[in-house]
């Protein structure tokens, strides 16, 4: 029933489609690629690379903290390491990897052949890659930022942070901003306008909902940090005084702007993971998710509440007490939509039949770890309790329970789940189980003791501590756990490489899953679907087939797709996607040159924008050949 949801094309038509949609050959073609699957794959692999790099930095920190008065790394290097660990994990791994998964999966899940703005996605990827490389190279050259991923002023301001370290941090934000905002615009447009006919908003998969909500959050939250990092750069480069109290500025302004972005950012990471959870649980409980509508509303409610929590990062400052009480209430209330989702998933598992796979195991890990992280979050949301545990190791424990339990475990589950779709081969289940159990146990061994360290008064971001504090034994335990986490991630890499070479062939739908991506080949052809499917239910591959089952009449020699209406997904018009071009890459190079040079001279903003303008003009320059093709298509009935 599931194997051929989409009609098989004539071989000649399939070949024509493949020619039209594939990336051009050769190294230049690789640079010019715009296919959402190529970009998505690169994005995922790059983000995973940054995850491993930032994880190795964490290993060095755990080594340093494993015993008191340790001198493996000094304070300066330690500060650069913890800063890059946090910065890379948040800005170069957690948010981008979720967007990367969306770039790969959303078009397949909604039954189209591309994201709405494929060139823009390619450009966003290059900008992200170059920004990430910049910050790691700066780190290797001992120019890496050293004021934490939150980069509080005045410590990061011109007076207390000499050299260019903070500027590299601020420019990294600019890189990831540009990339994150562009991908968000791309995802929103794709989801709103390119869904397969019949896939009304009500029939949209929960993962797509989650990414839609996330993309909107990014668009509303990121300008705040963009503003603050620009103000910081101006304070440092051209002598403005936004944050200098001696000249009418205020360091608290930074904190408000940073956390107005920084708190929602946690939810940019968490909400996509909730989408993974819903996809994986439905498939492996072999029934639709209980309470689909409630789940969607919970996602949207979480996104709204997430913008009302930022002050709980600032309870120890002089925010008025009444104001703080409001933020306590918001911080507790955001647990309601999460509770709704957790209960709906438990109901789904309760009434389902469970197909136990590594993918499901990783998502089940969420229920233990994230629930603990969520409950400690309530503790941090309460003003009096926060005043004690704020900025202590208790917060380190909490944030890792939330981010690893709430996002990394579902993400690993998602990788086990979609690996066969992306590569055509299944991952090894035995290694997968080892991977899960090692990670799960080691995670708790590493981070659970940190709750106690925080209550015993250990502050965050200390490069060492005296033996007399008594913090040694629990720190050693945490460090042992960290080694095992590293082993489990290594096991994942071994599993991925091994499966890529010799894993069992998956076929289009190895898990017999309900959503459209499983109707495409594994790995999907360049054109995703030989014909754009028509959808009549939420679980198209499980439910009755609609008639007609697919869209006919689209060109095979031009990248053509169907655009549909926002709510009901009625066919609206035909839409031609842009073709591959190396100019996206060149524009990203020009952007990078401008961003990095402006660290050293403000004039770079002026002369550096000229190459950007040139590359953008070349990027958008229409060719006669393409215009002729479009005109011909328009005249066709």
């Amino acid at each position: 029933m599931t194997d051929a949801y989409v009609a098989m094309p004539e071989p000649a038509a399939a070949q024509a489609l493949e020619r039209t949609w594939r990336d051009p050959p050769g190294f230049l073609g690789w640079l010019a690629a715009v296919n959402h699957k190529s970009i998505g794959r690169r994005f995922i692999v790059t983000a995973f690379g940054f995850f491993v790099a930032a994880g190795l930095l964490a290993a060095v920190m755990r080594l340093q903290l494993s015993r008191p008065d340790n001198h493996i790394v000094g304070p300066d290097l330690y500060n650069r390491i913890f800063t890059l660990h946090g910065t890379a994990m948040m800005f170069l791994f957690a948010v981008p990897v979720m967007q990367a998964m969306a770039v790969y999966l959303v078009p397949l899940m909604i039954g189209t052949r591309s994201t709405a703005f494929p060139r823009m996605t390619a450009y966003a990827y290059w900008v992200y890659l170059f920004g990430g490389l910049m910050i790691f190279i700066a780190f290797l050259l001992a120019m890496g930022p050293d004021n934490g991923w939150f980069n509080y002023v005045p410590l990061s301001g011109p007076q207390y942070s000499s050299g260019k370290r903070s500027d590299f941090w601020a420019q990294l934000i600019t890189f990831t901003e540009v990339s994150g905002l562009l991908v968000s615009v791309d995802i929103i447009t794709t989801v709103f306008k390119l869904r397969a006919p019949g896939m009304t908003l009500a029939r949209m998969p929960l993962f797509v909902w989650a990414m839609l909500v996330t993309a909107f959050m990014i668009i509303f939250a990121m300008p705040a940090v963009m503003l603050s990092s620009t103000m910081l750069i101006m304070d440092r480069l051209v002598g403005t005084h936004f944050f200098n109290p001696a000249d009418g500025g205020d360091p608290l302004l930074w904190q408000h702007l940073f956390w107005f972005f920084g708190h929602p950012e946690v939810y940019f990471i968490f909400i996509p993971a909730l989408g993974f959870m819903s996809s994986i649980i439905a498939t492996f409980a072999r029934r639709p998710i209980f309470g689909h509508t409630a789940m969607v509303l919970a996602l949207i409610a979480t996104a709204f509440f997430a913008f009302g929590l930022w002050v709980h990062h600032m309870f120890a400052t002089n925010v008025p007490d009444l104001g703080k009480a409001f933020f306590t209430a918001m911080s507790l209330m955001i647990a309601i939509p999460s509770a709704v989702q957790i209960f709906c998933w438990i109901a789904t598992l309760w009434k389902g039949r469970l197909y136990m796979t590594s993918a499901l195991l990783f998502t089940l890990g969420f229920f233990f770890i994230l629930v603990i992280g969520g409950l400690t979050g309530l503790i941090l949301g309460s003003v009096p309790l926060d005043l004690q545990v704020h900025d202590s190791y208790f917060v380190v424990a909490h944030l890792h329970y939330v981010l690893i339990g709430g996002a990394v475990f579902p993400l690993f589950g998602a990788w086990y789940y979609w690996f066969p779709k992306i590569t055509g081969r299944l991952m090894d289940e035995r290694l997968g189980r080892w991977n899960f159990w090692l990670f799960f146990i080691a995670f708790n061994v590493t981070f659970y003791p940190m709750h106690h360290l925080g209550l015993e008064g250990m502050p965050r971001r200390v490069y060492t501590y005296a033996a007399a504090t008594g913090w040694g034994p629990l720190n050693l335990l945490a460090s042992v756990g960290a080694v095992v986490i590293a082993l489990s991630v290594l096991l994942f890499i071994v599993n991925a490489v091994k499966s890529l070479r010799s894993g069992e062939l998956a076929g289009p739908n190895p898990w017999r899953a309900p959503s459209l991506e499983w109707a495409a080949d594994s790995p999907p052809a360049a054109y995703d679907f030989a014909a754009i499917p028509v959808v009549a239910s939420r679980e198209p591959l499980w439910d009755a087939r609609p008639a007609p089952s697919h869209v006919t009449g689209l060109a095979t020699d031009v990248r053509e797709g169907v655009s549909t209406t926002v709510i009901d997904a009625l066919p609206d018009h035909r839409y031609t996607f842009p073709s591959p071009t190396p100019w996206t890459f060149l524009a990203a190079v020009a952007t990078t040159v401008m961003f990095i040079s402006s660290i050293f001279t403000p004039w770079a903003v002026v002369w550096g924008s000229i190459p950007i303008i040139i590359t953008l003009i070349a990027w958008f320059w229409p060719t006669r050949e393409e215009t002729a093709k479009h005109l011909a298509l328009e005249k066709r009935p």
């Binding site: 029934r287 209980f290 229920f367």
Partner: protein, 321 residues
């Protein structure tokens, strides 16, 4: 020092209110966690196993599953009640903290510096004010009102056994109320990342009987006594003619700079360098010679003083009790 910096061993009303709220919150959260975990585990155990060949169950598509809906709705309602309880507890604790008495409070100004604490005991009578560093004595049973400010970057004042933390923010003055009900030494540490030596920006709060506190503060108000023997006189002269007096103050001498800790009664303190170095003649000498070996990045520069001069300097500083 174990137990000297522990949130759950409160030694004063502020920390006690928070610890009470902690246990209430922990009880509610633990109950919720166990309930969720039990429901989750029962779901896992009772659900039949399946594999890739198992056809999906599409029955839910045709029915609203009213029983499940009822159970989930009840669970959500219970969560809301639990959250409201937590909110009420939090606000009650907040009010209790805000209503702590301030009558007859002892006023202390604390200024954070990279990486030490400047402490001024305020008094309506200017002649009774005095200044010290990194060690705060307070009388048991009397409210203390700390006014917190920063001399450079943001720091955070935290004595877990006595109260929650409060930031020291340049351009702002914040206040923190605390009180010790039990005599003892409570360790505190900067909690907001403030640069290279954030890890060693500690201090001690010593709560003692009102009599002992009065004796201590009277001693602190005294200016430094003039040296009496030739060895310490040499140290005194070296202090005032060398680089020391460019950063440090000793009341009763011409040294009045405020870039580093006040040294008027430095020998009476337990620690040097904000809790990083024990205060004895050997460590003091080593610290003067090379502060970076204890606190890499510390603002005090190394001093390559000949041994006899160093001994004289240390001998003089040791008289500052």
């Amino acid at each position: 020092m174990q137990g000297l910096h522990d949130v759950l061993q409160p030694a004063g009303p502020a920390a006690a209110h928070i610890a009470t709220l902690w246990w209430l919150t922990l009880a509610i959260c633990a109950a919720v966690f166990i309930a969720i975990l039990v429901a989750f585990l029962i779901a896992l155990v009772r659900a039949p196993r399946a594999d890739a060949a198992t056809p999906p169950d599409l029955a839910p598509l045709g029915s609203a599953e009213p029983r499940t809906r009822l159970v989930v709705s009840i669970a959500v309602a219970c969560s809301i009640v639990g959250l409201l309880l937590l909110l009420a507890g939090s606000i009650a604790a907040d009010r209790a903290l805000a209503r702590m008495p301030e009558d007859d409070a002892l006023h202390i100004q604390v200024t954070g510096h990279q990486w030490w604490w400047d402490v001024i005991y305020d008094d309506p009578q200017p002649s009774r004010r005095f200044q010290t560093a990194n060690e705060i004595h307070i009388p048991v049973g009397r409210p203390v009102l700390l006014s917190l400010q920063s001399g450079d970057v943001i720091h955070s004042f935290w004595v877990p056994n006595l109260a929650g933390k409060k930031d020291l923010i340049p351009g702002h003055i914040l206040t923190l109320r605390l009180q010790a009900d039990k005599a003892g030494t409570y360790r505190g540490q900067c909690a907001e990342f403030c640069g290279l030596q954030h890890a060693f920006m500690g201090f001690e709060v010593i709560a003692e009987s009102p009599q002992a506190f009065a004796a201590w503060s009277d001693a602190q108000r005294e200016p430094a006594h003039a040296p009496s023997d030739p060895g310490t006189t040499r140290g005194h002269d070296l202090f005032l003619t060398g680089t020391c007096m460019m950063c440090h103050a000793i009341a009763g001498t011409p040294a009045g700079a405020r870039a580093g800790p006040d040294l008027t009664h430095v020998a009476s303190r337990k620690w040097l360098a904000a809790g990083a170095v024990p205060n004895d003649p050997e460590h003091l000498a080593a610290w003067i010679r090379d502060p970076g070996q204890f606190k890499p990045g510390a603002q005090m520069p190394p001093h390559a003083v000949p041994k006899d001069e160093l001994d004289a300097l240390v001998a003089y500083l040791e008289t500052l009790r």
